[in-house]
């Protein structure tokens, strides 16, 4: 594996919450083609780790580097697509309008028409409904439609399978695997054990 394949390298991550050590001296690296599953019991710090990797949580120690972005002279945030617990949709905007502003934050044209992406996540016919009128699973699907639209290599997904039905879970697993095969990488948390995982990181064991 050449250094160019390394998308993200984090070293010596230490996170404390209320004087409780979530993890200490943790090192994580993510290379192109990898699907890394972060697992552990509730409260083990999975979401915290993901938020730290995305730069959302700055209350930690350690170093995070983005070797490929640095080598290419790009801002590292261009390499990153983050989907958190909350889908980030405005309830009075339609599904399509929500995707439009979320994708525009990247400053590049989406890879395909927004309606096509919504159809790909099973929401054909729901484009013009306010996001507030959608079910939890449908909202999650709107957020996941961004995976079809944006061209960031590293996807960091917090519980992406929540509220998704069985067929949707299968389609999403295939999408993640295809993304890794195409040279991308995925870091995600989930409580079921998908077959697509190439590596696991177990949090929450006594440090």
């Amino acid at each position: 594996m050449s250094a160019n394949d390394l998308l993200l390298r984090a070293e010596g991550l230490t996170a404390l919450r209320d004087e409780r050590v979530l993890f200490r001296g943790l090192s994580v690296s993510v290379a192109a083609g990898e699907v890394l599953r972060v697992e552990g019991p509730n409260g083990a710090g999975k979401t915290t780790l993901l938020r730290i990797l995305c730069g959302l949580d700055q209350d930690c120690e350690g170093r995070i580097a983005w070797p490929r972005a640095e080598a290419a002279g790009r801002p590292w945030r261009e390499e990153l697509l983050w989907l958190g617990h909350l889908p980030g949709l405005k309830s009075t905007l339609t599904a399509e309008e929500n995707l439009a502003w979320l994708c525009a934050l990247r400053g590049r044209a989406p890879r395909r028409p927004l309606r096509e992406a919504l159809a790909m996540v099973g929401l054909a016919g729901f484009e013009d409904l306010p996001a507030g009128a959608l079910s939890a699973g449908q909202k999650r699907r709107v957020a996941l439609a961004r995976l079809h639209l944006e061209d960031a290599p590293l996807w960091v997904l917090d519980e992406p399978f929540t509220a998704i039905d069985r067929a949707g879970v299968e389609a999403l697993e295939q999408l993640l695997a295809a993304h890794a095969q195409a040279g991308g990488a995925v870091v995600f948390t989930t409580h079921h054990a998908p077959a697509i995982t190439s590596r696991s990181l177990l949090l929450g064991k006594a440090a």
Binding site: R51, C54, G55, L56, D57, Q58, D59, P75, R77, E78, L80, W82, G84, H85, L86, P87, G88, L89, K90, S91, T92, L93, E97, A100, W101, L102, A104, L105, R106, G107
Partner: protein
């Protein structure tokens, strides 16, 4: 479409879909100003003298009232996280948000103020100066207030805290804004006060976005 334009358009669309909420600061502004003649004295000479100050204080409080939820809804639905991880410069995104707020809340306040000025018997030169000072000053109030709103976004009930953080910063704007109209009423030169308000506007547009961005990063990591 650039991230700035997209976010600006999004905020205008959000404001339009919830346009009932836009009436709240406006109604507050009108009611507070109309309480003073009732509570003090309807004497036209007195009202003309204290009127500019009343309009300014009421406008300041109305802006303050509108700020509490500026970033709160974005935090509650996860949109703030998406702004924070965006590769677009965060100060620029903050500027887009505040600019939309100026247009949806600040501009209506300035537009309704001539009515209140007439009600308080302000006319002639002070009338024009009061309107100019509000047009220059209300955007400053929005920019500076947004820093306080961003700082308290992570706190459950930050309303009073926003006021405590922001009101001291509002003092120079109030002094020069109300002072310009007051000076015009006395027949004194007022161009200096308006020039300082303009300078404050330029300064706040140039610097506040960076402060807002820094505050949002702190609030976002709580």
């Amino acid at each position: 479409m650039s991230a700035f334009a997209a976010l600006f358009r999004r905020d205008l669309a959000l404001a339009w879909r919830a346009r009932g909420d836009l009436v709240n600061p406006l109604g507050f502004f009108v009611i507070v100003v109309s309480l003073f003649p009732l509570g003090m004295s309807p004497d036209p000479a007195l009202l003309a003298r204290i009127g500019p100050g009343l309009v300014w204080v009421a406008a300041l409080l109305a802006v303050l009232l509108s700020l509490e939820n500026l970033f709160r809804s974005d935090r509650d639905d996860g949109a703030l996280e998406q702004l924070l991880v965006s590769s677009a410069p965060l100060p620029l995104l903050a500027l887009a948000r505040v600019l939309a707020h100026v247009i949806t809340v600040g501009v209506p306040l300035v537009l309704v103020s001539p009515l209140l000025a007439l009600m308080l018997n302000i006319d002639g030169e002070p009338f024009g100066v009061l309107l100019s000072s509000l047009a220059l000053g209300v955007p400053v109030l929005c920019m500076v207030g947004a820093i306080g709103a961003a700082l308290t976004t992570g706190i459950a009930r930050g309303g009073v805290l926003v006021a405590l953080i922001v009101l001291p910063l509002y003092i120079p704007v109030l002094v020069f804004g109300a002072g310009a109209a007051y000076a015009a009423g006395l027949g004194l030169p007022f161009a200096g006060q308006l020039a300082i308000l303009g300078a404050l506007l330029a300064l706040s547009v140039a610097l506040a976005p960076f402060a807002i961005a820094g505050a949002l990063r702190i609030s976002g990591s709580q």
